[in-house]
Subunit: 154 residues, 3 copies
Amino acid sequence: MKSDHPIHLTEVSRAFSTYTTLVILKMMMMSFITAFFRGLRGAFENPEDIADTRREEKFRQMRSHPDVERMRRCHQNDLENIIPFVLIGLMYCMTAPHLQSAEIHFRIFMVARICHTVAYVCALPQPSRVLTWLVGVLVTFSMAYRVLKRTFHL
Amino acid sequence: MKSDHPIHLTEVSRAFSTYTTLVILKMMMMSFITAFFRGLRGAFENPEDIADTRREEKFRQMRSHPDVERMRRCHQNDLENIIPFVLIGLMYCMTAPHLQSAEIHFRIFMVARICHTVAYVCALPQPSRVLTWLVGVLVTFSMAYRVLKRTFHL
Amino acid sequence: MKSDHPIHLTEVSRAFSTYTTLVILKMMMMSFITAFFRGLRGAFENPEDIADTRREEKFRQMRSHPDVERMRRCHQNDLENIIPFVLIGLMYCMTAPHLQSAEIHFRIFMVARICHTVAYVCALPQPSRVLTWLVGVLVTFSMAYRVLKRTFHL
């Protein structure tokens, strides 16, 4: 078991791995939610995905539905925000931040993105969604600031 | 040549780099395939991309085409699945897995994603596409499980 | 301050962190530009985002606008090109390239992507956009070539 263990994994890297993996899994869950709503609403993009073989039924289900589009947009927003967080977070870990400081960044980001998904999926009244989105962006900006301050080399 | 060589690159990192680079290049190929179909079908999104300068011809080619949209969706699916694989894979490598175990993960993922692209681009009958997609997702979940088990720090 | 500093951060990693962070921040800026144009053009995707509470006004603003769609496409192009650059660049850094060689890659990529955004947002006549896009792709291919040459392990 010892030999199997990583050698130079700091506590910050461990926290980063845990939070990042959880937040990426959350992002991947959007695929399942979208697929569920596609089936529920009978709204497909690919003709081969429609089980019903009657031609007019295929034609009828080749459509978009507001619920499906909402899940797509939520997934897209995750791609546009979670991936930058993970990539900048990776470099942030290399700047050897204090563990508590790193934990605060990761925790706020994870909670903000979960709240963002709830606000998006349930179409909660604004500014709930825009605020949760902004918190995530500001966490990423804060990590980016430290990375630039510590590693600046143009 | 020696001095140029990386120092602490394990065999797992080498395998990861190779498979990841290949699978990202595959993803980038989708841009070229989409551009090819845009030209072939005369379906553009930007007016400045249409070579024909006649106004009515520009208007006619500012449209969508099912083949182009299919390539776009395949590219989007790559973004939604290959990037999580690479990011979680990076942390998976830091948990020092056995080389054979890592190779199995990387190989299955690469083969699954290539088959997924073929199934999507050629519109093969289901469940070919959904199964190849699921195999890729399960490989990523398996790596995420190990990362969480080894590094858990909330 | 010393204890806070990263230990084995090479000059190449520092350059990579700086350029990558800047280019990811540029990508994240697209969200703000899109939001700005949504407000300016009165074109929204979510009913809850429309401040006006009159029903017919909500219906009227639930639409797409060419300017908003252009910003979306520019953002999407960033996702499709900047993320592969960062991921392959990460592995490129692990192959211990010469600092000058790495700097040339990173600089050309950053300049190309900034020019690409200007060409896209301002709808400059082609081939400005396609050339700047191609330069970015070729930089990523060049790094991928080195990664595959140095780490090949299938």
